[in-house]
Symmetry: C2
Subunit: 227 residues, 2 copies
């Protein structure tokens, strides 16, 4: 009531109008409803109607806050990926050799997908194949970029401590980082591809990372010589 206009700076926003607050409230409710339903029943089994009901809004309203059902998924799980990357970066900083360091990064992401594999698979799918005009997908891809940069950074450090440096080396590092993400990506999609039924994903990924990192290191000398 006494939220006098001269107190609100339109930037400090301690008291905004009813309107803006109610919108943020709806945004939150929709987000929470989607997150809960996806988590408990899986992306594909949840209808937009249901999300709307749980958030106590009309269907049309859901689509004022998210341009598609997929966008809701991206919105929710980008947060998880963000956390996983942060965790991974911290773990990677501790690890000694480059293989362990890179492995720590991707294992963190792999672990974050332990619960609700079906929904993680859907997230993967939307991240890779969603529509290009999709705000939150772009944000998700930016996170992937961050992950790759973090990996590339560890590789660059390793190269430097092996006495190698320079722009071509960094490019090779980015390349290896991208391959690491590709391996992770396929593994996460894995449940649906039924890849290696018997294999332990953690060990499989570790093995692939080991090969890729060693491959990067093995490429270093010739990189210097041939460029």
């Amino acid at each position: 009531m006494v939220g006098l206009p001269e107190y609100t700076d339109a930037k400090r926003t301690p008291f905004r109008g009813r309107r803006e607050r109610s919108m943020q409230d709806k945004q939150l409710r929709i987000f929470a409803a989607a997150a809960a339903l996806f988590a408990e029943r899986g992306f594909d089994a949840v209808g937009t109607q249901e999300i709307a009901e749980r958030a106590d809004v009309a269907v049309g309203t859901v689509f004022r806050y998210a341009s598609s059902k997929a966008e809701l998924l991206l919105m929710v799980y980008n947060g998880e990926l963000r956390d996983a990357i942060n965790t991974g970066v911290r773990a990677a900083a501790v690890a000694a050799d480059p293989v362990e360091s890179v492995n720590a990064l991707v294992q963190a992401v792999l672990e974050s997908s332990a619960c609700n594999p079906a929904t993680v698979v859907a997230y993967q799918r939307e991240l890779l194949f969603g529509s290009a005009t999709d705000e939150h997908r772009t944000a998700g891809l930016a996170l992937v970029g961050e992950l790759e940069d973090a990996i590339a950074s560890r590789l660059a450090t390793a190269a430097r401590s092996a006495g190698v440096d320079g722009e071509p080396v960094l490019r090779e590092g980015q390349r290896a980082a991208r391959t690491v993400f590709a391996a992770l990506s396929l593994l996460l999609a894995g449940p649906s591809t039924g890849a290696h039924p018997g294999a332990d994903p953690v060990e499989e990924l570790r093995g692939q990372v080991t090969q890729i990192v060693r491959g990067f290191l093995a490429t270093l000398p010739s990189t210097i010589e041939t460029y």
Copy 2:
């Protein structure tokens, strides 16, 4: 008419009943209609109604021959993948060093996707994320398995000619092969991820393959020692 029963062996099938022939005919028409429409307008832009009309059957009939629209896509492009793999295997046999050999294999698949990238992206999507109870998807994944085996085989040859052999080596080869497919896969999905706008996919893939193969070779000695 004169398609006497004693002539038809039910296995040689030179003359089957009208029924079976008309079914095969419809199957062919539906397949051809789908292939043509996907090629000329892209998977997502084609409706099942359209496919049905072009094949001169009712919509319901389409779904008697393919359990979903995605299945039609898989059906059509599995053939392309089959051809690409065969081409790749031939090219790989000629190449001298293992990097070139493996590269030849995957480049063949990459090239086969040159025309109609949108539909290839959709094929990739359905292969990786399609429903598990899907005959033609399983067939597609089997082809992927073949590709991986072909790659693994080249790697095993390389290892042998480096004086290394044994079951652990084969496992590492399979692992590297899987990574190679992961890289290819991500690159094919690439157009939609807007990965590296400026990069040449052919060179990018070659670079990744180089790293992976060298990584495999670098892992060999330690494989012997540590196992």
